[in-house]
């Protein structure tokens, strides 16, 4: 038997890289400084608008005036204290909401009895605006820190519950079947299959939860707060200090953006087992 190898003559000795390249349909490679580009552009438009007079100070304070107001608040009005006290509320409320939401989602996701007990009330809670519940919470918990934390916890619980539950129920049934043939207990099943499988959903819920905890802050700090960004904004509103209001809004924005980015970054790290358009 004779063997012949046919090589296209013009390709035989070339050392340059020739390949067939298809048009890319996904988002492609990451670009550097992606985190900064959008917000920087926004800031640039804001600054340009203020400098040219398109945006009058009565509508929106210029960025540099916001910077001056920020410094004034920092030096003369304990801005750091306000930030810390808001952060504390947000973090405690968020932590409670996330833990409760995740536990309820697993209970309701894995047991039909749990589902019938838990799912309904949470869907009902979802359709009642939290703002409308605040008068009740004031009656129950007073107007102190408790009421504020409970409100934030309840606001953040809902997205965590909904997305974790959805993520859990979307786990391919064949993995549960595998676990049954391997003969592991429910605890190991939860640890090795349910939690990692529901993690993408949980992280999406987390993104909603961190921003809604900011939202909750604005609302609860209007009630009898002696410190906090919401408190600062409420005071500024009474004195007509638009620049201070904008300082508060910028702080909310920065916190929200950083927290969301942190969640997404965590997601990219812990979901390294997936091959998606994200990578």
């Amino acid at each position: 038997m004779t063997t012949t190898v046919h090589a296209p003559p013009d390709l035989e000795k070339s050392t340059d890289d020739r390949r067939v390249v298809r048009k890319r349909l996904g988002p492609g490679k990451r670009i550097p400084f992606a985190f900064w580009i959008g917000p920087a552009l926004f800031l640039a438009v804001w600054a340009a608008g203020s400098a040219t007079g398109v945006i009058s100070p009565a509508i929106l304070t210029a960025p540099w005036d916001v910077a001056i107001a920020f410094q004034d608040q920092w030096v003369n009005h304990d801005l750091l204290g306000n930030i810390l006290s808001s952060l504390q509320r947000a973090v405690i409320g968020l932590a409670l909401g996330v833990i409760t939401g995740a536990v309820l989602a697993v209970l309701s996701g894995l047991s039909r009895i749990g589902e019938s007990l838990i799912d309904g009330p949470i869907q009902i809670k979802r359709s009642v605006p939290t703002l409308a519940l605040i008068p009740l919470f004031i009656a129950w918990f007073g107007i102190g820190q408790e009421m504020k934390i409970v409100t934030i916890a309840l606001i953040t619980l809902v997205p965590i519950y909904v997305h974790t539950h959805n993520g859990l129920r979307s786990i391919d049934g064949k993995y549960a079947e595998l676990a049954e043939t391997i003969g592991i207990g429910r605890g190991e099943f939860i640890r090795h299959i349910v939690l990692p499988g529901a993690l993408p959903g949980f992280l999406l819920g987390m993104r909603f939860a961190v921003t809604s905890s900011m939202l909750g802050l604005v609302v609860v700090e209007q009630y009898n707060a002696v410190a906090g960004i919401g408190h600062m904004i409420t005071l500024a509103e009474q004195y007509g200090q638009t620049d201070v209001i904008v300082v508060g809004l910028v702080i909310y924005g920065v916190f929200g953006y950083c927290a969301d980015s942190a969640v997404r970054l965590t997601g990219r790290k812990v979901l390294a087992w997936r091959r998606t358009l994200e990578d």
Binding site: L178, I193, A272
Partner: protein
């Protein structure tokens, strides 16, 4: 048929009068009887819809809620290999292999099992980084590391290409000779059944229709005995001469 040790018949699987049905109109399994001896390799063939997978799932204890009755006795340690590798995508290969395994030496046993299937060095890879054949080998390692007395395999090579499949046959044969589990292999492929099994069982209409022992001195596809058995089984399956 079954091997005798110390006067006791070592039977791994005993099925009597097994009925299973998914609708009222007719059963998928209609009073099936089956014995598999310890260490025996049985291939189960049959046309689509004759109840091969139903039987395997019944033996695996995965047919909860399916109507039917009958007696099943299987060993304590049963392992299943599915058509898809069913590796957990969020666990690295070694963690998949030792998943649910107890004991402080689990890691070492897992590594050894991976080496046995030719995947040494891939312990920390994610499942998506492996080819289809490698994933199925990892799944095989996951089953064998548990040292099952019964290995149930539902068309484990069905999704692999022909070349990979031949390599997997050699590997599976070797592993089974080393570990001696009883094996029930569901397959569509008559050649695969003859190459691998000690016994080929043909299911038709929910009962065992043919039960032949593969006693070939030479299992290569070119041998006369192979061709004869193949022709016999294809006849039994009702495959027309011109389609072979």
């Amino acid at each position: 048929m079954a091997s005798h040790v110390g006067g006791l018949t070592q039977t791994a699987v005993r099925v009597r009068n097994l009925h299973r049905s998914f609708s009222k109109n007719g059963g998928v399994l209609n009073g099936l009887d089956l014995d598999i001896a310890a260490g025996e390799f049985v291939a189960l063939i049959g046309r689509s819809g004759t109840g091969k997978s139903t039987l395997l799932r019944a033996l695996a204890g995965l047919d909860r809620g399916v109507a039917g009755h009958g007696q099943i006795a299987v060993p304590e340690s049963v392992s299943v290999v599915f058509q898809d590798s069913r590796l957990l995508p969020w666990k690295r290969i070694l963690d998949n292999v030792v998943f649910g395994l107890r004991g402080s030496d689990a890691g070492a046993r897992g590594r050894q099992a991976l080496a046995e299937v030719g995947l040494a060095g891939r312990e920390t890879a994610w499942p998506y980084q492996l080819s289809g054949g490698e994933q199925q080998r990892a799944a095989l390692a996951r089953s064998l590391v548990r040292e099952p007395q019964l290995l149930l395999a539902d068309e484990p090579f069905g999704a692999l290409d022909a070349l990979t499949r031949i390599r997997m046959h050699v590997l599976l044969r070797k592993l089974c000779e080393a570990h001696r589990p009883a094996v029930l292999l569901v397959t569509h492929d008559v050649d695969e059944a003859i190459v691998l099994a000690d016994r080929v069982i043909l299911l038709d209409d929910g009962v065992v229709r043919t039960d032949v022992r593969v006693d070939l001195p030479d299992r290569s596809r070119s041998s006369a005995g192979f061709a004869e058995l193949r022709t016999f089984l294809l006849d039994e399956l009702g495959v027309e001469e011109e389609n072979r």
